[in-house]
């Protein structure tokens, strides 16, 4: 199956600053993909490049097999909800549905109507008076009733309270279950993504740090704790992502392809949040001084091409 998004050497520069740099991705279809990274890492830039709101400075990007363009046929296959869910504040909920109906050839009016009723939204209410959660749901309705093959959501739950957040994700998953849409959603909170995503892309400092199926990532990353070790003595197939040492103890976060055979290590699985944090810190996203006094070990850039 062709990837739903593929990028090769993708980059976007503003003046002298690269908002996104040397990005290689092959995101498979049929997944809910999480794009996680700190603020300013380039997530919005990547998403805007994917929907054609930006053009690349370097490299290429393809969505559903075609470069993102102004072509109505391509636009119809991708649904997008921008950050802060922009809506026309003076237009009513009903007006927004009319927007969807008039501007999309495959608009599913019945589905849109049903969702609005289920959400208890008043069609005559102006969008500017809706709560944040309601606006997010309205924006999701617009994107989903368009019947796209691929849904791209930019931090859709960032400003929502926990209940609104949960309801949004419930609805989103229901849509995925019912219609088989591929989803790419970005967030700077890993906890949101952990429940719903089965593919993860970690973006820090304008570069992709790691990308792969969540199951594979969780299965291959480990926390090793044990007596003080010299990292250079580790076997070849163990890549250290984060290390910290006291005079007696070493704690390592590693990616390993095979089992850890050294019995002096206590091996524990790594939670997704800790995994992401480790990659973020490694990329220089953190501000705390590291305790390690050793030189950084050789860490390969991990790109799990599917």
């Amino acid at each position: 199956m062709s990837p739903v998004l593929s990028a090769r050497g993708l980059g976007k520069r503003y003046g002298r600053r690269w908002a996104l740099h040397e990005c290689d991705l092959h995101v498979p279809a049929g997944h809910v993909v999480g794009l996680v990274g700190p603020n300013g890492a380039g997530k919005t830039t990547l998403l805007h490049l994917a929907v054609g709101l930006l053009t690349p400075t370097a490299g290429r990007i393809e969505v559903l097999g075609n470069p993102p363009s102004d072509d109505p046929a391509q636009l119809a296959r991708v649904g997008f909800v921008a950050q802060d869910t922009p809506t026309y504040s003076r237009l009513t909920v009903g007006d927004h549905l009319a927007l969807g109906a008039h501007m999309n050839p495959h608009w599913d009016g019945a589905m849109a109507q049903r969702r609005i009723e289920d959400l208890d939204l008043d069609p005559k209410q102006r969008a500017g008076t809706l709560s944040g959660g309601q606006r997010a749901q309205l924006a999701l309705t617009l994107a989903v009733a368009k019947r796209p093959e691929f849904l791209i959501l930019d931090e859709p739950v960032a400003s929502l309270d926990p209940l609104a957040r949960r309801e949004f994700l419930q609805d989103l998953m229901e849509v995925v279950a019912e219609h088989g849409v591929s989803v790419l959603l970005s967030s700077h909170l890993v906890a949101d993504l952990e429940r719903v995503c089965d593919y993860l892309v970690v973006l820090v400092a304008s570069r992709v740090q790691v990308a792969g199926e969540v199951e594979e990532l969780l299965g291959t990353h480990r926390r090793l704790t044990g007596p003080r070790h010299d990292i250079d003595a580790l076997p070849r197939d163990q890549y250290v992502i984060e290390e910290s040492h006291t005079d007696r103890q070493s704690t390592l976060l590693v990616r390993c392809d095979g089992p850890v055979l050294d019995p002096s290590w206590t091996v524990e699985p790594l939670g997704l949040e800790d995994l992401v944090l480790a990659y973020m810190e490694q990329a220089g996203g953190g501000t705390r001084r590291r305790r390690s006094s050793n030189a950084r070990s050789n860490v390969a850039k991990l790109d799990v091409a599917q």
Binding site: P72, A73, L75, Y88, L91, A98
Partner: protein, 369 residues
């Protein structure tokens, strides 16, 4: 897309239509009265053999407040359309981020832009054109008196040319909003740009739509004037002021006093030809200019003439001397060219608007990020 474009424009369109209706009602109610005042005065003037007080037609002072307000309205509506319909058209979407919603539906940016520009551009022409045609109808009794509609100040307030101004102002506003991306600065740019273009066209382009016609008039002291100016103690400068020709509803673009070779009379020549007028040094107290035109915005005849009896004979002798060599040349656009000029100016502004729209189309496809 067109249907959605209408929904977005709904609120502004309502205000425009409502305003138009209000104005229409006011004009419809007051119009017939103007006509009757005019007709009564004409009849009374004829009855008095052309000398009665009614021959200074009182229609020019009927509904004074309206006669001031209505022209201002026609003057101002195009630029208001540019600032309030044009500038926010795209800038508002860029400012609030709703363009990220609009451009990720299944409609290309170009189509989105052209529908919005076309819809509101058309509405601009309808509102401004409708307004100015209504006002032209209402003011026709006043125009019949002042006969001044081709002049720079009144041309822009008559006929259908405000429709051209409005669509140009709208396109200018939309372009400014697209490029600057913020509504308020775009409004300011629209205002300044519109005024500059209107000014430039009125004084530097409009005179050249068609080659002006010329006519000559003999010098006559009944209509022209003599003036002698200078500081006390220094030799004064003598000159002859031209008279306004009797060309109702024409646009006089220039008058000059020249001889057969096209040379203007020098101060020295005039002094030598009219010695009696300059003897005694300072300008004679009685020499004045006979003026025609002026008055309110819609024009009106007013004559100012005060000549002391002794000076009158000197003036007549002086002018018959000068008139042997010099005559007055008037360049003007004849009255029957009024509607041609309206069409040409409207076309010019519409073409400018289309050019700006084309610029917007290019910008939105290639320059947005």
């Amino acid at each position: 897309m067109i249907a959605f474009g209408w929904r977005q424009f709904r609120g502004q369109a309502t205000i425009g239509i409502a305003g138009l209706v209000v104005v229409a009602v006011v004009l419809a109610v007051t119009g017939p009265h103007l006509v009757s005042v005019y007709d009564t005065a004409i009849a009374a003037c004829r009855a008095s053999g052309g000398t009665g007080s009614a021959c200074n037609n009182p229609v020019t002072s009927t509904f004074n407040a309206l006669q001031t307000a209505v022209p201002i309205l026609v003057l101002v509506v195009p630029v208001l359309i540019g600032m309030f319909w044009g500038a926010p058209l795209i800038a508002h979407e860029l400012e609030t981020g709703t363009f990220r919603l609009a451009w990720t539906q299944s409609v290309s940016r170009l189509r989105w832009l052209l529908v919005k520009l076309g819809l509101v551009g058309l509405a601009s022409m309808v509102v401004a054109g409708g307004l100015s045609l209504m006002v032209t109808w209402w003011a026709s009794p006043i125009d019949k008196v002042s006969q001044n509609r081709f002049s720079p100040s009144l041309f822009a307030l008559h006929g259908f040319v405000p429709a051209g101004y409005a669509v140009f102002a709208f396109a200018l506003g939309a372009t400014a909003g697209l490029v600057i991306r913020r509504t308020l600065p775009a409004m300011a740019v629209t205002l300044v740009g519109f005024i500059a273009v209107r000014f430039g066209v009125t004084y530097w382009v409009r005179p050249h739509y068609m080659s002006p016609a010329t006519t000559t008039l003999p010098l006559s002291n009944a209509a022209a004037g003599f003036s002698y100016t200078g500081a006390a103690g220094s030799p004064g400068v003598a000159s002859i002021n031209t008279q306004q020709p009797d060309l109702p509803n024409a646009w006089v673009t220039g008058t000059s006093i020249v001889d057969k070779a096209g040379q203007a009379p020098t101060s020295a020549y005039i002094k030598q030809a009219c010695p009696s007028l300059i003897s005694g040094g300072p300008p004679p107290a009685g020499a004045v200019v006979h003026a025609r035109g002026g008055g309110g915005i819609f024009g009106g005849k007013s004559a100012v003439a005060q000549v002391a009896p002794g000076v009158q004979n000197s003036l007549t002798r002086c002018f018959s001397t000068l008139g042997a060599k010099y005559h007055e040349v008037v360049t003007y656009q004849p009255a029957d060219r009024f509607w041609t000029f309206q069409t040409m100016e409207t076309a010019l502004f519409v073409v400018l608007a289309l050019a700006l729209a084309g610029g917007c189309a290019w910008w939105v496809r290639h320059r947005i990020s």
